[in-house]
């Protein structure tokens, strides 16, 4: 089947994206100061605390801003939007006491903020600038004084081919020219910077790795959980943890290290990327987390499928079309891009063909039609690529269209799109892009480079084509990205993915299912499904689709609990998935008041930030005077209680298909493919065995005669 054979080029995508790994940072997170001579504030301290458990991460960023100047000032801190992050808390210390924010409509929140500021009262606001940045504004930072704020967000932490990845984004992508022209970012933490990650799981994790922070202190607790610590002040790893010895459980970069950058200031210009590798023998499985505080109330669940499917390697030749961004924001990345394309082309088979398309304000083809992937043509193409400069805007639509039009309908084709920017020239509507990729049976493999790329555009478009999108940070491990991309490229995939979840009896009802619109499940990919339920009891989960044209189906049966209270954060994760769904609708419709209102309502009900809402802090008495409901404060208290309870015990098992595993095949891994082997004698073996039996009986008769 044609659509099933296109994966090899993900490798190219992975390579091309991994290209970015060596590119210099353009801009960084930090305190924003207008470029008009306004004196800058001092970013004194920043403490980042991350707990990864149960398939999601809770990230808390606490920081202090100081004002060394002679007049009161407003602090604006901006940092890139982390991937799929649901901001759940914004807290501002007023009179030494933490006051948590509530979610309001964006315009209303801004109006109140300005009013409070004008009245000289303490206030703070957290806003989302589209898909690009979170901006936190605090008033006032008194002359010669400091303020403290905290932001917390929750994000899913999925595995791919047994490798987990967490990114604390700090590098700004440099794609917002207006912002860059007006503001300058103070990215230096002058006091203490610390980053602590606690990885809690009942599955065995063999190693952790921070490719861009080799001096991070990594340790393993006696209960099997792992900790990462980065600090610019001399400090030992946390008590209760033991340094990782140079043994089989630690990889070459996961050994105990002394904390880095002792006593120095810390620059917020490098993403902190943490990888963890699950033990090879951890099985393919189904995990479920549920939150249902009352037996007669509504529950929320998160199902995570880690499939083990018999996906065979792909060997036949195909066409690859590289569509590469050469807009101005790619400036520091072109040499890396060239290297990535070079390595990608080097992976092609002699039977494969390729062509290369570039775009900035307009698009043009670098090659002249398809070229066979032989040494001579690859060398020629690379010479052309090396001579391309980055400049101009981003006409992504034209680039993509030219690439898609170049596809040969009679051959299996894949399109590798590498971009770090926004579509700001030509057609820019998401619906136009979706229509474009629907026109042709060409799968997209998209390398989303940097923290400010237009994920809301690139991801749905890639999924619509049945392809695979990878986000890449400058701090990513080039080899890690390569390995993950390779897994998508070299093997078959499950196409026409269908996931059904049905109650087995009358005591359980399930609704509001939300999942990423995955049509094709690639080797090593996980699937996450959120939903609501009432009652309790068994449900049947069925994953079905086709592998190389043959229908396959995997089933599991497990129970939904009557009550569960350890993971209240699931409600926010469900709400975030719902908001993502509504925003996609909005992209398709252009503008729709009902959909927008739905986003606002969900955002307010569940206390998460959205493009249409903000988190506002005013003095406690002002919340009362303004009749602002404190629902988020109450929700945070519930979450804090649950978190303390979770941390008091080892991470519990979340697997629900232990008794009757959903997948017979092992979970794929990078080393050897996580292979399982069977002793299957098969029909030929049986025929031969019967032949041997007949021969033996004949011999026996002959001898006994």
């Amino acid at each position: 089947m044609i659509t099933q054979t296109l994966k090899r080029l993900t490798l190219a995508a992975g390579l091309a994206l991994s290209v970015v790994a060596t590119a210099p940072a353009v801009d960084a997170a930090g305190l924003m100061t207008p470029k008009d001579g306004t004196p800058a504030l001092d970013l004194r301290d920043q403490a980042v605390d991350v707990v990864v458990e149960g398939g999601y991460a809770v990230v808390t960023v606490e920081q202090t801003f100081a004002n060394p100047n002679a007049e009161d000032m407003e602090a604006i801190y901006s940092f890139p939007v982390p991937e799929r992050a649901a901001v759940s808390e914004f807290t501002y210390w007023i009179d030494g006491k933490p006051v948590t924010a509530e979610v309001l409509e964006k315009e209303e929140a801004r109006k109140i903020y300005e009013g409070e500021k004008a009245a000289g009262r303490e206030t703070a606001i957290a806003e989302q600038d589209a898909y690009k940045t979170f901006d936190m504004t605090v008033w006032p930072v008194r002359a010669g004084n400091d303020v403290k704020i905290r932001l917390a967000y929750i994000q899913p932490a999925k595995l791919d081919t047994g490798i987990g990845r967490f990114v604390y984004p700090l590098e700004e992508g440099g794609v917002d020219d207006d912002k860059l022209a007006f503001w300058t970012a103070n990215e230096t933490v002058t006091g203490r910077f610390s980053f602590d990650l606690h990885l809690r799981t009942d599955y065995t994790v063999e190693a952790l790795r921070l490719p861009a922070h080799p001096d991070a202190a990594i340790s393993k607790d006696p209960d099997g959980s792992w900790r990462v610590h980065i600090d610019n002040a001399a400090a030992a790893p946390k008590a209760g943890s033991e340094p990782v010895d140079d043994d089989a459980s630690a990889d070459e970069n996961a050994q105990g290290h002394a904390p880095a950058q002792s006593g120095k200031s810390f620059e917020l210009d490098t993403d902190i990327v943490v990888y963890w590798r699950q033990a090879e023998n951890e099985p393919a499985r189904v995990d479920m987390l549920a939150y249902k505080p009352e037996s007669d109330g509504r529950g929320t669940f998160m199902l995570t499928l880690t499939p083990g499917m018999d996906l065979k390697p792909i060997t036949e030749g195909r066409d690859f079309i590289f569509v590469l961004d050469r807009s101005g924001s790619m400036g520091g990345k072109m040499s890396s891009l060239t290297e990535g394309v070079s390595r990608a082309l080097g992976q092609l088979n002699p039977d494969d063909r390729f062509r290369i398309v570039y775009f900035n304000d307009s698009a043009r083809e670098l090659t002249h039609g398809f070229m066979n992937a032989n040494e001579e043509s690859i060398s020629q193409a690379l010479e052309w690529v090396r001579n391309v400069d980055a400049e101009g805007g981003t006409n992504l639509y034209d680039g993509l269209k030219l690439g898609l039009d170049a596809a040969d309908a009679d051959r299996t084709s894949a399109l590798v799109l590498v971009t770090d920017g926004v579509a700001n020239v030509g057609r820019t509507e998401v619906k136009d892009f979706l229509a474009l990729v629907k026109e042709q049976d060409v799968r997209l493999f998209t390398a989303i480079m940097g923290n400010s790329a237009n994920r809301p555009l690139l991801e749905p478009m890639t999924l619509e084509s049945g392809g695979f999108a990878s986000a890449v940070s400058n701090s990513d491990d080039i080899i890690g990205v390569l390995l993950q991309a390779t897994a998508k490229v070299t093997h078959e995939a499950l196409h026409g993915v269908k996931l059904d979840l049905d109650p087995s009896g009358s005591g359980l009802t399930i609704d509001d299912l939300r999942r990423k619109g995955i049509r094709t499940l690639y080797r090593g990919e996980q699937m996450v499904l959120f939903g609501h339920y009432r009652g309790a009891g068994d449900a049947e989960l069925t994953l079905s689709g086709e592998i190389s044209g043959k229908p396959v189906s995997y089933e599991a049966r497990f129970a939904f609990p009557e009550t569960a209270n350890l993971n209240p954060e699931l409600e926010r994760l469900w709400a975030f998935a719902e908001i993502e769904r509504e925003l996609r609708k909005l992209d398709l419709l252009g503008s729709d008041a009902d959909v927008k209102q739905s986003v606002i309502d969900t955002s307010k009900e569940y206390g998460i930030l959205s493009p249409f809402t903000s988190m506002l802090v005013v003095r406690d008495e002002r919340f009362e005077e303004l009749a602002i409901d404190r629902s988020n404060r109450d929700r945070l208290a519930v979450e804090e209680t649950a978190r303390e309870k979770r941390m008091s015990a080892p991470a519990p098992s979340t697997r629900v298909d232990t008794q009757a595993p959903m997948f017979d095949a092992p979970r794929p891994s990078h080393s050897g493919g996580g292979s399982g082997g069977s002793g299957a004698i098969g029909l030929p073996g049986l025929v031969l065995a019967i032949l041997v039996l007949c021969g033996t009986l004949r011999l026996r008769r002959r001898e006994t005669a």
């Binding site: 033990a279 090879e280 023998n281 099985p283 083990g308 018999d310 065979k312 232990t658 009757a660 595993p661 997948f663 017979d664 095949a665 092992p666 891994s669 080393s671 050897g672 493919g673 996580g674 292979s675 399982g676 082997g677 069977s678 002793g679 299957a680 004698i681 098969g682 029909l683 030929p684 073996g685 049986l686 031969l688 065995a689 019967i690 032949l691 041997v692 039996l693 021969g695 033996t696 009986l697 011999l699 026996r700 002959r702 001898e703 006994t704």
Partner: protein, 213 residues
Amino acid sequence: MHAPANAFHGRPRLPWFTPGLAALTAALYALAGGTPSSLVYDRAAIEAGEVWRLVTGHLVHLDLHHLGYNLGALLALGTAYELAPFGGPRRLALHIFGFGGLAVTATLLAVFPDTLRYCGLSAVLNTLYAALTLGLWRETREKIWLVALAASIAKIAWEAAFGPIFSAGLAWPPHLGAHVAGLLAGCLVALSRPSQISDEDPESLSQPVSANA
């Protein structure tokens, strides 16, 4: 062609090991189902001390399809070996399942570190098959048994090149390395026993062979 030695003196023996092992294998499937996680060959678990998997891995199966073919082959080959003049139940237990099983798991551990899991009887059935075909050839000098052995080698080679012939659909593909290891172990078993027919001494054909020698 040489005439075979008369190996069957006294009361004819009846196969008992083979039906017993078949019953055990079927019972394991009935009780533990397909791919029981605590019984399959699991490299990491074995390294962690769960050494019973070295044995039980051969006795458990993925599904009924897998079990059915292997049980059929076990009943045919095991019965043949128990009745063969050079075989018998003790040889079957010790040489084939003991030595053969050990050789297969040792090969998996030493040569195939990427094989994390394995289950099924067929690698040891390959030991049994090789020991039988080579043994029959040594007893009868009928070339058909060499052809039969070659057919098994050809089957493995085919599957290495083109994938499973008739066993497609199993969750785990046939482990060809284990099959080859089993086949070699069977050849060793067959060749380690003195032949009843000596090329140098045709008179040896008339010498009796004890049932379990």
